[in-house]
């Protein structure tokens, strides 16, 4: 090749990688899918800037600013356009529009440079000046480690922040045709320790079901479905659930109630 367009070849390669990852890797695999980030923040703007006014851009900082700014603008306007399509703003459409624009702009730049036989205007031979000495590298690594420590401290601190524990008790009518005679009950232990509960379900003044020991670990969820006696014809009936802790067996800890209408 008589011309050098390493930057545009890199943009095309990164765009293809991002598109391939977005098409093949499930979204649950965030560690890999995160490699598609440049397709939003950088690549479209870089390609468009190179296509429109690359020769006039001065320096890396200006190029980065134009790439970031143009990318964000392009993504916002793309979103407005995608909204008009039936599929809207979905993963597939986000791969298609910015990806295609980036690839088309990059190929156009390559063709133009080939036609003009000119060198890539972007990469300047400044490597020796932009590198770091060993001492500088050590200091920057130290700074990164300190920031990493601060991040770890804050994230773990927030995850383990002491808050009062609590227990959730809930009762809802079962869905579908059995809604009038079946209820769903649930208990979730979000206390700081394993809990032992007793659950009593009353209908009017009569106990219709009792669970004398619910042993739930921290974060554990217990659910059941309960068929209640047939609801009367005329008036709604109240079903009441009372949750007791084993260490305080006479004082209701949680209390829910549900009106079942005929």
């Amino acid at each position: 090749m008589k011309y050098r367009s390493t930057d545009m070849l890199a943009v095309i390669a990164l765009t293809c990688i991002a598109i391939t990852l977005a098409c093949t890797v499930p979204t649950s695999n965030v560690a890999v899918r995160i490699l598609t980030l440049p397709l939003v923040f950088f690549l479209p703007g870089y390609a468009l800037t190179a296509l429109l006014f690359s020769e006039q851009i001065q320096g890396i900082v200006e190029r980065v600013a134009f790439s970031l700014g143009s990318s964000l603008i392009l993504v916002i306007l793309s979103g407005l356009i995608l909204n008009l399509t039936p599929s809207g703003l979905s993963s597939g459409s986000w791969i298609a529009l910015p990806g295609i624009i980036t690839l088309m702009a990059s190929v156009a730049v390559l063709l133009r440079r080939q036609r003009q036989g000119q060198s890539a205007a972007t990469p300047q031979r400044v490597g020796s000046r932009y590198g770091f000495t060993a001492g500088q590298g050590v200091l920057l690594t130290l700074a990164a480690l300190i920031i990493g420590g601060a991040l770890t401290l804050s994230i773990t601190g927030a995850q383990q922040q002491p808050y009062p524990g609590f227990t959730q008790l809930w009762m809802l009518p079962a869905g579908g045709a059995q809604a009038k005679e079946t209820v769903r009950l649930g208990v979730k232990n979000m206390e700081k320790t394993t809990m032992e509960y007793r659950l009593v379900v009353n209908m009017g003044s009569k106990t219709i079901k009792q669970w004398s020991l619910l042993d739930l670990r921290v974060g554990e969820n217990w659910q059941t479905t309960l068929v209640v006696p047939t609801v009367g014809q005329n008036s709604p009936v109240l079903v009441e659930a009372l949750l007791y802790r084993q260490n305080a067996p006479t004082t209701p800890y949680r209390h829910v109630e549900l009106w079942l209408s005929s």
Binding site: V61, G79, G88, S128, A143, I147, A150, L151, F166, M190
Partner: protein, 699 residues
């Protein structure tokens, strides 16, 4: 226009003499790679050491500042004591001051300056992120999370947002967040955090490049960017997941592009013009206030540019760079078109605040109302400490005293530049915004204006500071001037940080507080909202207090009613001491299906002043009574479907869908609540009764 001072200041600009504004515009990229004049780097290692200067060492110091802030946050989480507060302020000072001192100096290269600014920007952003690193907690952030969730669920824009209806019509931030989230699989929180981080970086780079291109001085550009970073909105507001946080960087990028266009050949100008128009469109669909501010500035800039052109025709031969007239016109057309498309909702959203401000100003001027007492807290929280007040006042005094120096420097050195003159004009608005702090509504307006005003203010103050630094000779006098400028900038920074940090309780994370925004977001509330999402399903109409409304609308995916979205304000549903016809009427008019009651509201006054998210409510004077909160218990056809101790969820659908009639009866007459006649109605209750609930019988 060329002076020795400029030559001294700009000696690093590729070692070339600066010959006026036009020449400064053509400052070559060589400045980025050329060694400082008069010095020849012998080896690559020496070259690198010279290029980066103190950047690596200052990065370590700034990182230590972040670590101190993180320790302070951790201290706040673990204890309610005040010892972490000094640690927090020490961290913020360590993060900023050493870098600032370095940037005052004439020594650093362009690379070092930019690298230092990037480090400070990232570290400031981290200080915001580290405060609540697991999910969004600010009030404004929840409003936009809901819009982002709606787009993710429906794949389409403009879905109704019950928390902030206007936000659905300015979806720029949510679009970019959706793109990141859809492509990477990241959560909205992580995706949004990345978007705002990139936007903040774009803001600082664009600002630096703008200031540098205007002044031709990397020293002034660095100092002015640093002063902008010192504005209170930068750290505490524009790093939030909110539409202005993206719109403002885009607006400044567009302004930089317009300035940059002036130094391009015609072919490049055409291409950049397309980008500018696209940028204007992006700003217009991202944030109403930013688009209005940008339009106003472009108009002012155009007027100044025209005035200069007319003066040039009268005698001056100096060529005048192309102004932003066509950009102003395009911005105007796009703004109006978007307003029409969105049915003028932005004006309806903003007008009440402006109207309220004007009314309050009029009343103060007519001596019909006293001015707002500064730093006075009418809420349950403790007042602002004395040292914070002194710091804030000192900062404002420094800015006001610095303004004349800056304006003089602008006139003396940059009056050939229409942008610089327009910026000078904008700074004259700043003292007026300070006066607006004397009104309740105006204070909010003034706070929101600061992010915009500081773009001009930082440039003008930076010009003044450089003028002072360069006015004297080197040696002892020079060092004294440097110390003076450094002290003033640090005082401005510290005071502005104090102003932006808000109430002392909001500074650090900590234990739950009643209606205290981020401090009220805790596992039990989130758990209740997540339960609603899983077991009730999304989209039910829910009434609750301010913080549980946010949680139910976002974590819970419910249509939580707010003052803005409800037909009738829902506050009375919780405030009413009994389940009477007033409550029933609201339930029916708003079709409310569930009421979420937080019993902790009865334990304290709301920390921010009101339990509900209506701007019109007066501050609460007494906690909501527990009997008012538990009035739903035992009511016929009101199901108590969820209980987590503090939070109870009631199903009131049967009541809301009944035809109008008498309120429901209590099912246990012997347990029926009989409230005592209150001696005096609390202000919110009285207001709600007077304004909306004509059908409530007298107590």
């Amino acid at each position: 226009m060329t002076t020795d001072m400029e030559s001294m200041d700009d000696r690093n600009l590729a070692g070339q003499a600066v010959t006026g504004w036009a020449a400064r515009h053509s400052a070559s990229v060589q400045e980025a790679i050329a060694p400082p004049a008069g010095k020849v780097a012998a080896t690559p290692a020496a070259l690198r050491a010279e290029t980066w200067g103190w950047f690596p060492a200052l990065s370590v110091i700034s990182a230590l500042g972040v670590l101190l802030v993180a320790l302070a946050y951790e201290g706040g989480r673990l204890s309610a004591s005040q010892w972490p507060v000094p640690l927090f302020w020490c961290g913020l000072l360590l993060l900023f001051v050493p870098v600032a001192l370095r940037l005052f100096s004439a020594q650093p290269t362009r690379q070092e300056r930019i690298a230092l600014l990037i480090v400070v920007t990232i570290n400031f952003y981290l200080t915001k992120y580290l405060q609540y690193p697991l999910f969004f907690t600010s009030y404004d952030e929840f409003l936009h999370v809901r819009s982002a969730q709606d787009i993710a669920a429906s794949h389409h824009l403009f879905q109704p947002n019950p928390l902030l209806p206007i936000s659905a019509f300015y979806p720029g931030l949510e679009i970019v967040t959706n793109a990141v989230s859809s492509l990477t699989g990241l959560s909205i929180f992580v995706a949004g955090t990345l978007v705002i981080g990139v936007a903040t970086l774009l803001l600082v780079l664009s600002l630096y490049l703008l200031y540098e291109r205007l002044s031709g001085s990397m020293r002034l550009a660095g100092l002015a960017t640093l002063l902008y970073i010192a504005n209170p909105g930068f750290v505490f507001f524009d790093t939030m997941f909110a539409y202005e946080s993206l719109a403002l960087p885009l607006a400044i990028f567009v302004v930089f592009a317009i300035v940059r266009r002036g130094s391009l050949p015609v072919r490049g100008q055409v291409a950049l013009t397309l980008l500018i128009w696209a940028g204007l469109a992006a700003v217009v669909v991202t944030h109403h206030l930013t688009s209005f501010a940008l339009l106003a500035f472009l108009c002012l800039w155009s007027i100044v540019s025209l005035w200069k052109k007319m003066r040039a025709r009268q005698g001056q031969k100096q060529p005048i760079p192309a102004g932003p007239r066509e950009a102003a016109l395009v911005a105007c057309v796009l703004t109006v078109l978007w307003l029409i498309y969105t049915n003028w909702q932005a004006l309806a959203y903003l007008a009440p605040n402006l109207d309220s401000t004007m009314n309050q100003v009029t009343q103060i001027l007519a001596h019909k109302a006293p001015p707002r007492q500064l730093f006075h807290s009418s809420t349950a929280s403790a007042g602002t400490p004395l040292w914070e007040r002194i710091a804030a006042y000192t900062s404002e005094i420094c800015i006001l005293l610095g303004l004349p120096f800056g304006l003089f420097a602008i006139w003396r050195r940059y009056r050939a530049n229409a942008f610089a003159l327009a910026a000078g004009c904008v700074t004259l608005v700043y003292p007026i915004t300070l006066l607006l702090h004397l009104t309740q509504s105006g204070a909010e307006l003034a706070n929101r204006a600061e992010e915009f005003l500081f773009v001009a203010l930082a440039f003008v103050l930076g010009a003044g500071a450089v003028q002072v630094l360069l006015a004297g000779a080197a040696g002892r006098t020079g060092r004294q001037r440097l110390a003076l400028v450094a002290a003033v900038v640090v005082m401005i920074y510290f005071g502005q940080m104090v102003l932006g940090s808000g109430q002392p309780w909001s500074l650090l994370p900590g234990p739950y507080m009643v209606t205290a925004d981020a401090r009220s977001i805790e596992p039990e509330g989130i758990g209740a909202a997540e339960w609603a999402s899983v077991y009730l399903g999304p989209g039910h109409i829910v009434a609750s207090d301010r913080d549980n409304t946010l949680l139910m609308a976002t974590f819970g995916e419910q249509m939580a009613e707010t003052a803005g979205s409800a037909n009738v304000p829902v506050s009375w549903v919780l405030l009413s001491p009994q389940f009477g016809s007033g409550v029933t009427s609201i339930l029916r008019q708003d079709d409310i299906q569930y009421v979420v009651v937080d019993l902790r509201l009865s334990t304290a006054l709301p920390t921010i002043g009101t339990y509900f998210n209506s701007a019109n409510l007066q501050p609460a004077t007494a906690p909501i009574s527990r009997t008012a909160l538990t009035k739903f218990d035992g009511m016929q056809n009101v199901s108590r479907v969820f209980d987590s101790g503090d939070i109870i969820i009631y199903n009131v659908e049967s009541i809301a869908r009944q035809p109008a009639g008498p309120p429901p009866q209590h099912r246990h007459p012997t347990r029926q609540f009989k409230p005592e006649r209150p001696k005096k109605l609390s202000q919110p209750v009285a207001w709600v009764r007077q304004s909306y609930l004509w059908d409530i019988p007298s107590l």
